[in-house]
């Protein structure tokens, strides 16, 4: 049994709306107590607690990323659960939900348990999202109940959308019964064949086939229609649709309407979609290639608005590591995706807190409390007594320069390499263990 006292910091805890100087006492893997500065000194001394001086730092619940690719099983050359969780710890994350598009696909309780095995050496908590259909082939749904029992926190065919109406309908019902969110990568792949960037004038000039806005919004609208039908029928539990990495104003608008109508629809936005536009593709930069693609300035601005007005429930990175040789290819050949765990907090601070004056309390809500809630991660995303001692300490005022080579991630496919960014993570504590220290 071990205690830690974090003192002198400015504590932010969105659920209790705490946003002031408070000390924090951790015992073993749980939060014990929050107290006014100095008030916990005596208790801490009695317990022989390790004292961490957080003067000038924000003390917040550890960040939660509900959309990452840890590449295991099968693609350990891109990332392992160990290297990916270390990159997460460096970025201030204490919980990651990993996608099932591995080799083999995480579509059985056995593979789910393999991901969760201590032998994977995860340094922070990993919560697998299991495949929604067998082999993520979009045909036969998997056994959601037993996947949940094995540790899955949601179901998704990420990267491959569930296209067939009937299968999606069935998946929504089965997920609701199992008490899991049905998580959709919204892309009508029938109309994005060969496409490698956002459709429009730039794609035309660059001679690249484009993904239209409608390829995303069409699936979001279809899914919302299915959720509405199931919700209003009154039969069975309410389905929960979670839309991954929304990138277009049109899809966000559909989600805004669904929320107003009281449907249980949530969504996430990735930092690159609120920071960059398809201009970053110029020169055929494969580190600006991802799916969904970087969009227009109007779409980018709509992502910021959605995060400010609450339409977007949370920030998720879609951390997608790829080996150097895979990205050093012709643009159309290079795989989709960029890494994101190391820079998400800094990019969010830069764009949302600095440029758009979003309070840090709200930012931490979007990066910790809300995503934990969406995935049903109990005792995460909060510093309330009895919650897991998942804590991040960061300096919001100073800056750092990101050097992708120094990341514990196995990959460095990021457009932000070399960027100087605000917000320095000083320490990450996962269930009472210090897993990262700057």
């Amino acid at each position: 049994m071990k205690s830690i006292l974090i003192k002198g910091g400015h504590l932010i805890d969105p659920p209790s709306r705490t946003d002031r100087p408070r000390d924090l006492l951790i015992h073993d893997n749980k939060i014990v107590e929050l107290g006014d500065p100095g008030k916990l000194n005596a208790t801490a001394k009695k317990e022989g607690a390790e004292v961490i001086d957080a003067t000038g730092l924000i003390v917040a619940p550890g960040l939660v990323d509900i959309h990452v690719h840890l590449r295991e099983p099968g693609q350990g050359y891109k990332e392992t659960i160990e290297s990916g969780t270390k990159a997460g710890a460096m970025g201030g994350f204490t919980a990651l939900c990993c996608m099932p598009n591995t080799s083999p696909v995480v579509d059985s309780p056995e593979i789910t348990r393999w991901v969760l095995s201590p032998e994977r050496n995860a340094v922070i908590r990993v919560f697998p999202v299991a495949a929604a259909t067998r082999g993520s082939m979009g045909e036969a749904i998997t056994e959601y109940g037993s996947l949940k029992a094995a540790g899955a926190v949601g179901v998704s065919d990420d990267g491959k959308p569930v296209l067939q109406d009937a299968v999606m309908h069935q998946a929504l019902i089965a997920a609701a019964r199992a008490g899991l969110p049905m998580i959709q990568h919204a892309e009508n792949t029938k109309i994005t064949v060969g496409a490698s960037m956002n459709a429009g004038a730039r794609a035309f000039r660059l001679g690249l086939r484009g993904m239209s806005v409608e390829a995303e919004s069409g699936i979001v609208e279809r899914d919302i229609r299915l959720v509405r039908e199931l919700t209003t029928s009154g039969k069975g539990p309410r389905p929960h649709l979670h839309v991954q990495h929304v990138s277009t104003a049109k899809a966000i608008e559909a989600i805004r309407h669904a929320k107003r109508a009281g449907l249980h629809v949530t969504c996430e936005v990735a930092p690159h979609h609120f920071i960059l536009t398809d201009e970053a593709v110029e020169g055929y930069n494969t580190h600006a290639k991802m799916n969904p693609p970087l969009r227009s300035e109007a779409d980018r601005a709509a992502m910021v608005t959605a995060l400010l007005d609450g339409t977007a429930d949370c920030i998720a990175t879609d951390h997608a590591p790829h080996a150097v040789h895979e990205k050093e290819q012709e643009f159309e050949k290079a795989p989709n995706g960029i890494t994101g765990l190391e820079t998400a907090l800094s990019l969010s601070i830069k764009m949302l807190h600095h440029q758009h004056r979003m309070p840090l309390l709200r930012l931490i809500h979007l990066m910790s409390t809300a995503p934990a809630h969406i995935m049903g991660l109990r005792g995460r995303g909060t510093l309330a007594p009895e919650a897991f001692a998942d804590v991040v300490l960061f300096d919001p005022k100073s800056t750092w320069t990101f050097n992708a080579r120094n990341s514990p991630s196995k990959s460095r496919n990021t457009p932000f390499d070399g960027h100087t960014l605000p917000g320095v993570v000083k320490m990450t504590i996962s269930e009472g263990r210090i897993v990262y220290k700057a």
């Binding site: 660059l206 020169g283 580190h287 012709e330």
Partner: protein, 349 residues
């Protein structure tokens, strides 16, 4: 440009005289080549200022006009590699003959008879050619943007000889040389050189790198460019390529306004499942005698080749007195000599 991808320019052979590189002013361009890209490269027509275009045209004019012996040793002992991932007759042969006319050694690597077939990457192929002494690579590739990749990783001057659906900058320059000479204009250009001139580019605009390069260049000289074709082959966003471009679905109307009619082939190899009604296309967009004499009896007729006679153009027009098609091919040789000389002279033409 991602700083993660390091430029290879440091390790590039120092064959290019530093002095020449220093003399060449940085191109004032809409999209200048990124860091680490050799200034002798020509990746996109947009990287050239009009002054540079004029310099290239002037050099081409001189090289085409003087006896072969005057420049037969200009690139003596220099090594050039032609790297072709797509079949080509005109572009490949003219680059090769251009290089040989200047005394350079050339080697041809094609995707079908090389280690590319075994899965060797473009980067490694480029590095191999560089290690063998190639000082410039002329690349034709089916993937848009591949010359950027090659230029970045080899640090060598790379000449884009057509990349996917992106650009074919040397074609735009030889087309410009052809237009200027047919219209009786000087081979030196300014923003007003083509004032009052309308060029219609007709056919499969969507898949055409020739259309893109021409549509990005000609309006900068004052020309009006009409892009003409059916919806499927000419999406509305094409109008945003450059100011001075308009779209026209009616070929007759486009012809009526044009002094130059540039025809394009339907690129069957790039249709990707698209269904085109060829009979209907022929009816609406074929340049034939009836249409030509009715709507644009004096227009200069151009085609980048290869032509599909009887589809987008008829034999009587292609072989007729208004056709500049063979002149385009001849001009290709001159332009490519100039581009090779420029590439091996640190970007100065």
């Amino acid at each position: 440009m991602s700083p993660a991808t390091k430029s290879a320019s440091k390790s590039a052979p120092k064959s290019v005289p530093k002095k020449a590189a220093a003399q060449s002013p940085q191109p004032k361009a809409t999209t200048p080549p990124a860091d680490g890209i050799h200034p002798g490269s020509l990746l996109s027509i947009t990287q050239l200022s009009l002054e540079e275009v004029s310099n290239i045209l002037a050099l081409a004019e001189r090289l085409a006009g003087e006896p072969l012996s005057k420049h037969a040793t200009l690139l003596e002992n220099r090594k050039l590699a032609l790297l072709f991932y797509e079949s080509s007759t005109r572009t490949r042969t003219s680059f090769e003959l251009a290089a040989k006319s200047l005394g350079a050694m050339t080697t041809l690597v094609s995707d079908k008879s090389s280690s590319i077939e075994k899965g060797e990457s473009l980067k490694d192929t480029g590095l191999t050619l560089r290690a063998l002494g190639a000082e410039c690579i002329i690349l034709r590739h089916n993937a848009s943007g591949s010359p950027y990749l090659l230029a970045k990783h080899t640090g060598l001057p790379v000449l884009n000889a057509g990349d996917g659906m992106h650009e074919h900058p040397s074609q735009a320059l030889l087309d410009l040389r052809t237009i200027l000479s047919r219209l009786g204009k000087k081979q030196a250009v300014t923003e007003t050189t083509l004032d009052g001139i309308t060029v219609c580019i007709t056919g499969d605009i969507l898949h055409s790198r020739v259309a893109r390069s021409n549509a990005l260049l000609l309006p900068r000289l004052g020309a009006k460019v009409i892009l003409c074709g059916p919806q499927q082959l000419l999406p509305p966003e094409a109008v945003d390529l450059s100011p001075g471009i308009t779209l026209e679905r009616d070929f007759d109307k486009a012809l009526q306004q044009s002094q130059v009619a540039m025809m394009l082939r339907i690129q069957k190899e790039r249709l990707a499942g698209m269904q085109i009604d060829l009979a209907d296309y022929q009816k609406q967009y074929q340049l034939n005698e009836d249409r030509y004499f009715k709507h644009a009896p004096n227009a200069v007729v151009m085609h980048p080749g290869p032509m599909i006679r009887g589809l987008e153009i008829t034999a009587d027009i292609a072989d007729g007195p208004s056709s500049a098609i063979e002149e385009q091919v001849r001009n290709g040789l001159a332009i490519r000599m100039a581009l090779l000389a420029r590439a091996l002279n640190g970007g100065a033409a």
